[in-house]
Symmetry: C2
Subunit: 324 residues, 2 copies
Amino acid sequence: MIMMNRRAVLAGSALALAAETFPDLGHGKVAPASQQVAGLYRYRLGDFELTAINDGVWHLPIDGAFVRNAAFPQVQQAMADAFMPAADNLPLPFTALLVNTGSKLVLIDTGTGGQIAPTAGLLVPNLIAAGIAPETIDTIVITHFHPDHINGIKTKDDALVFPNAEILVPEPEWAFWMDDARLGTASEVIKGYFLNARRIFKNIAKDVRRYPPGRELVPGIEPVLAPGHTPGHQAIAIASVGQSMLVLSDTSTHPALFVRYPEWQVAFDMDGAMAVETRRKLLDRVAADRMLVAGYHFPFPACGHIARAGTGYELHPVQWSPQL
Amino acid sequence: MIMMNRRAVLAGSALALAAETFPDLGHGKVAPASQQVAGLYRYRLGDFELTAINDGVWHLPIDGAFVRNAAFPQVQQAMADAFMPAADNLPLPFTALLVNTGSKLVLIDTGTGGQIAPTAGLLVPNLIAAGIAPETIDTIVITHFHPDHINGIKTKDDALVFPNAEILVPEPEWAFWMDDARLGTASEVIKGYFLNARRIFKNIAKDVRRYPPGRELVPGIEPVLAPGHTPGHQAIAIASVGQSMLVLSDTSTHPALFVRYPEWQVAFDMDGAMAVETRRKLLDRVAADRMLVAGYHFPFPACGHIARAGTGYELHPVQWSPQL
């Protein structure tokens, strides 16, 4: 009784023919919007109001080098299991998190600044669509210095995007990326990250506050050292009025691969073995505590819960709620 | 290293105290939005532009009677597995689907009309937020006559919400619900559904077109008889330019229960055994074909893919895309 795939193809052909006959098909009484709605999702945590703000997606061509310690067919099977449309292209989303604590507007990571993929760079327009002017951001918390997390601090032309925000960066991350000796011995790709971090921070260094892990940044927001992805990579714990969550940042990149198979080392994990150890430890904890988590590369709205599943875990995305 | 639950509680207490000291906490430089963004998600299917339009959610108190043929602790375990916040309350979302075929604006089901739950009735405001005036809807396709699907046709005061739309309803559904003999022998709950259907359709009956299953309604949109949930319940196949999907409507209500455990009979399934047979058949097919599906009670944006999992299935929600 269901329309067969074959029938659908035939119906499709008929429509394609019609489209040729009537070239204005697609511009009926109400023209298609031809663009997505703003990537925004709000939720409450205690007294805090959080907004997940999508910066877009990177359609990342991948090959056998993308996961260091898994055969490419296994990676492709994991992508097929997650119904990804292509076997050699990973749609990797970017979603930053805005926390309105009631007295401060805190933005955790800043997106790509439109400097990484043509399908990303939407953070500022989405922020404005949420009614938030970039000038009103009080605090920026950076989790680590990879370009897709820090480039949104500045435009391509080095102008500050959030001119009134205090910028807080992890002390161990700063120490690593500002070390000239390490820059001198880095591979070409990593060298690019070193130079990019210096472009972002060089002329604002005196205004950047370096934070140690484990000490509260603003009331209710506390960094948690989660090394491996980068040497000073931080998760961020948020708590308000008895409710708490953990912002995993890049503890796992795409969950269909690295939550499901936590032992896999993505090419972006600078110390793969340490990243796996940190990932296991944090995923174990949030699964045991049934704690709400956010992930920078999780599918939008990029928050949910982690459950143990076989030898790995699975992400249960939060059920979209029409009310806060 | 992670903030412990106990610590979170302590941090929460400190914040609660602060809130008492500073009663304007929560109204900082930028006031919280205190409401969700519009529940809209657009996607393409061939030449068609589809918009998932959330009507809201029903926080439905449930007990052992909600699933006829499963012990309540099993149902509660399934809800816990899906990280639902309460063990005796099911957040059941409503999401209608708008299809812009290029020449017609077709709305599949109409939401609750604000007549079922205080947290639902958002379809028209969300439609307007999407740039679509209710007057521009050309065609309404009704899948079955349960109130949460048909009440949006009219306001509480019996005014037509979509004044220019042709209304298409399943012929077998009409035959059942307009049968006075069946009304006479119905239980109180079902009698309410009979009377509600008559309130919606009585004075517009001459303008309502009754459609048979299996015949195209508009090019690319075809009903598929899927009986059991109601006698004339329809799924809707959509196809355009070689791409196809199946709108499951209420073939399964909440997927955490009835996709995961397809043999479970929800209290709303009027013929439970037939509903299970239909559900198995359709879920088997869409899983085998890896076909995109939509579900009226699936978590927003209410579309994704179905995979076999153990003795049941699981829903893989579509990955939110910032581009069409």
